[in-house]
Amino acid sequence: MDLLEYQGKQLFGAAGIPVSDGRVCTTAAEARAAADEVGYPVVVKAQVLTGGRGKAGGVKLAADADETERIAEGILGLDINGHVVRTLWVEHASDIEREYYLSVTFDRGAKKPLLMFTTEGGVEIETVAEENPDALVRLHVDPLEGFQPHHARALVYGAGLTDPSEQKQVSAIVEKLYRCFEQNDAMLAEINPLIVTPDGLVKALDAKVTIDDSALGRHPELAELRDEGAADPLETLARSKGVTYVKLDGTVGIVGNGAGLSMSTVDVVVVAGGSPANFCDLGGGASADSVVNALEVITADPQVGSILFNIFGGITRGDEVARGILAALERIDITVPIVVRLDGTHAEEGRALLAEAAPANLYVEPTMLDAARRAVELAR
């Protein structure tokens, strides 16, 4: 789960990392009041989970109350890469002498946390890594050793930071960022830019934090931060029903079990000449109820012209899926045809249940490809 900038900054602040004083606002009047409190000049920043806010006009400076209100009005409702701005962060503007970059992330390949630091901040870190790799200090932390102060020293000296005050401040921030990463089960904690003000203070001007979804159970306070308003309404409905669903733009509704098979089904529908309406993964061990939930979400998309079930039972049982489909047909008004392909654990029982009930508009196909072709044809 990605956090908004202000949510990340709140975690940073709690961890003792210096951030500017700021307020969360949802109206222009609130932004004006917030600016009065934090002191001018202020920077008004759109809170959306997408990059390129600055270029899209979502980050602006304001010198006084009237300007703050005018700018806030302009940014609220702005569409940035499909994300409509509903929340603003207003903070006291900082004077910037230099910009650095600091992050800690999961290196999946090395299976260790990776610290990265460079004094060439303020740009895409990928660009620094590509064009000036020596300027980017990369350092793994051995999980059995855990974070030690020498890790911070290696970053600071490695990047050629010479000012003793900056060395001290950055080292402290590295340690705090690592603790913040660890304690909040983050997959990424990034400060870009980490700035130095003209009077020599080092602080986080932005915050990018991703929390491990699998760990949200032990962080209820973070789980509540999920930005429901920003997501597609169908995806929000899906989440409320515990269905893994990603909206796409086509006409063939897709339900699979397991992320890999579901993704593969999306691909095969494209190969069969169709356009997928969604990606939907029932996950492992789906019950009949979860099938009903998935069908409710998929049929709420008016573009859907047919629905393709591609189930290969392992931990999921084919008879449960069949029961779910039959229950859904009774409980919800489904007008589009459903094509079902069942294999694996209890698939025969499942196919027998469907054959016995034999609902109209339900087609059982023997293979994944046949089922995809049929669903594509029926969606036309």
């Binding site: 999961f106 260790k112 999980p143 159970g217 397991g258 890999g260 593969s264 990606f279």
Partner: protein, 291 residues
């Protein structure tokens, strides 16, 4: 031979008394796997259809002579369960449980490696060596015994491809689902290395998906260290950038980690990549039959 599980596997199921553990543990036994024990703290002395339950894995090892553990316990107990199995002295742990926090996996992975134990998973379907042993949730009836080693990040997609291979008259030496989490105990390379060393495996099939760079690394490994032919399939060609498709691992951002990039990396070292599961099965079948 075969890899990871075989006729010598003596299995303890951690969480055998739970509903999923029971269902699949008994299916594993019905397949022919030697399921010698179950572990549920506080339930020692009970049995599940004749399989004795112990309080600790150490007892399952000393009394039941278990050498492999299958972990079916809920996510918040899973890391502890794997540590317990490793400390009890099993040589292999297969963890089916999903939603194990990634930070827990960091230290667990380092610990397990240091102990020289094989860990498969978490969030994986397990390992099946057809005709010998089935450990996990893979539907055994789908697969036939044969000489194709199959390794995959995705469970159900593995079944799909195994099914297509079986339809083409081909069988598998072992099927290994490594799991789709950011940190898993065994990587593609770990498994490919075993297939290369396994005399019963003649061909390897790698089933990947978007996100990360495991497929790219595997391609490099194949080019440098494998003599056996390798085929591949990658899921997620139609996935829109920046969206998570279910698996924590299946995230693509920007150009790296896309299905196309993986396909190119694999093809660059001479690995044939199928566009659909049927196509990869057809490619393997054509090769196996000398066409």
């Amino acid at each position: 031979m075969a890899i990871i599980v075989d006729n010598d596997t003596r299995l303890v199921v951690q969480g055998l008394t739970g509903s999923e553990g029971r269902f699949h543990g008994l299916r594993n036994r019905a397949y022919g796997t030697q399921v010698v024990a179950g572990v549920t703290p506080g339930k020692a002395g009970q049995d599940v259809e004749g399989i004795p339950i112990y309080d600790t894995v150490a007892q399952a090892v000393s009394e039941g002579r278990a050498n492999t553990s299958l972990v079916f316990v809920p996510a918040r107990f899973a890391a502890d369960a794997v540590y317990e199995a490793v400390d009890a002295g099993v040589h292999t742990v297969i963890c089916i449980t999903e939603h194990v926090p990634a930070h827990d996996m960091l230290s667990l992975y380092a610990y397990v490696r240091a102990k020289g134990v094989t860990l498969v998973g978490p969030n994986c379907p397990g390992v099946l060596s057809p005709g010998k042993a089935n450990v996990g949730i893979i539907p055994g009836e789908v697969f036939r015994a044969g000489s194709i080693g199959l390794v995959s990040r995705s469970g159900t997609l593995t079944y799909q491809i195994g099914h297509e291979l079986a339809q083409a008259g081909l069988g598998n030496s072992s099927i290994v689902g490594i799991g789709g989490d950011p940190i898993v105990g065994s990587s593609f390379i770990d498994v490919l290395e075993r297939f290369e060393a396994d005399p019963e495996t003649e061909i390897a099939v790698l089933v990947g998906e978007i996100g990360g760079d495991e497929e790219e690394k595997a391609a490099k490994f194949v080019a440098e260290h494998m003599t056996k032919p390798v085929f591949a399939y990658v899921a997620g060609f139609s996935a829109p950038p920046g969206k998570t498709m279910g698996h924590a691992g299946a995230i693509i951002s920007g150009s790296s980690g896309t299905a196309q990039a993986k396909r190119e990396a694999l093809e660059a070292v001479g690995i044939k990549v199928g566009t659909t599961p049927s196509e990869v099965a057809a490619l393997v079948a054509a090769f196996a039959k000398g066409e």
